[in-house]
């Protein structure tokens, strides 16, 4: 249990467990979807607790967990720079093509 390379607790207070993000795949072939987070002492226990917290109503066939601190997020302050310029560029959507009738589900 202690040889868990995904767990570095050096920066945490001794009475707190690290936070984990939980991703659940609901059916084979679908993506794992983020469904929430939980506290757990290490990766093995995080998987077990994810089973109890997030898949107790048959939600899943597979679970991923990752330490929340390993997720790098964009800065909300950079939203203008990152995302707003896309608003007026509808031509980036593939909506100007005529599809042949035989193509049903695009």
């Amino acid at each position: 249990m202690s040889n868990d390379s995904n767990t570095s607790n050096a920066t945490l207070p001794r009475n707190e467990w690290p936070l984990w993000e939980v991703f659940v795949r609901s059916k084979a072939g679908l993506d794992h979807k983020h469904c929430g987070s939980l506290h757990a002492p290490d990766s093995a226990m995080a998987i077990q607790l994810a089973r109890d917290v997030y898949t107790r109503r048959q939600e899943g066939t597979s679970v991923w967990v990752v330490r929340s601190e390993h997720i790098v997020a964009s800065d909300p302050g950079d939203k203008d720079m990152y995302f707003d310029p896309m608003e007026d560029k509808v031509y980036r959507h593939p909506s100007f093509y005529k599809l042949p009738d035989s193509v049903d589900h695009m």
Partner: protein, 273 residues
């Protein structure tokens, strides 16, 4: 006015089923004491989940027992009658599972270490039982084999989760290891009863219903021993003490547990959600 108690047949086949069902139900009732009180939210949900799994297993077994008893005596009952309308002496769970976890008669009972240890001892036993019953030729009772196959999936998780906790606490801080060792000293004397042979056990085995509990001891000891080694625990020495819950002679704690568990059904006969 309260609902009168039922008296069940002493047929060994029925008693064998009720011993299993009562073990699941009473263990579940004790685990449920943690609901809203576990050290962290995640484990609170986990313990309650285990409890619900066990209640599901006991329901299946009580329903099956009802079919068996109706065949034997012609009396028709449902699962609630077995769970809520028997007298203390008619419950056949081993004493270990009725000992308080959170709330004793006069103050705290087990701590979290004692809870995960109890869970390990019981889950490992139930896992062995379900494995034996779901194996080919494990029981002549097809319904029991089906219940066992379904329950085995749950018991495997219960065993792994509790074993992981025992190793973490045993291999954790000085305090967690001490609490776990103390819990083991308190609970181990009640282990002997789990594997005692008696006429009910022998008759059920002879009829091909399922294994004698004594037959499961070696595998149980091996599995528990591996966890104890990883947790740095020493298996305590056996003591001459024998608890007698499976004979219907319970500890002083059982009456309090039943009073709480049965009060609703007794006060509101046939009450449903």
């Amino acid at each position: 006015m309260t609902t009168p108690s039922i008296t069940v047949s002493s047929d060994p086949q029925l008693q064998y089923l009720l011993r299993l069902a009562d073990t699941c139900l009473i263990h579940a009732q004790r685990l449920a004491e943690w609901c809203g009180h576990a050290p962290v939210l995640e484990e609170d949900i986990a313990l309650t989940n285990l409890s619900l799994d066990l209640i599901g297993q006991s329901r299946a077994l009580y329903s099956h027992a009802a079919t068996v008893e109706q065949r034997l005596t012609g009396v028709a009952r449902d699962e609630d009658a077995y769970a809520f309308l028997r007298e203390e002496r008619d419950y056949r769970n081993p004493t270990l599972v009725e000992l308080p976890l959170r709330r004793g008669i006069s103050g705290p009972a087990e701590d979290f270490a004692g809870t995960v240890l109890r869970n390990l001892l019981v889950a490992t036993l139930l896992k062995q039982v379900w494995e034996a019953l779901s194996a080919p030729g494990g029981t002549a009772d097809a319904e029991l084999a089906a219940i066992a196959a379904k329950s085995l999936k749950e018991a495997r998780y219960h065993q792994q989760h509790s074993a992981d906790w025992v190793v973490r606490l045993g291999d954790g801080t000085e305090e967690s290891a001490r609490r776990l060792r103390d819990a083991l000293q308190r609970q181990w004397p009640y282990v002997a009863e789990l594997f005692e042979s008696d006429a009910t056990d022998a008759a059920a085995a002879a009829a091909g219903l399922g294994p004698r509990m004594a037959d499961l001891r070696a595998a149980w000891e091996a599995e528990i021993g591996a966890v104890f080694t990883a947790a740095g625990l020493t298996r305590p020495k056996s003591t001459p003490f024998r608890s007698t819950g499976r004979q219907g002679v319970h500890s002083e704690h059982m009456g309090f547990l039943l009073a709480e568990m049965q009060s609703l059904q007794r006060a509101y006969p046939g009450g449903v959600w």
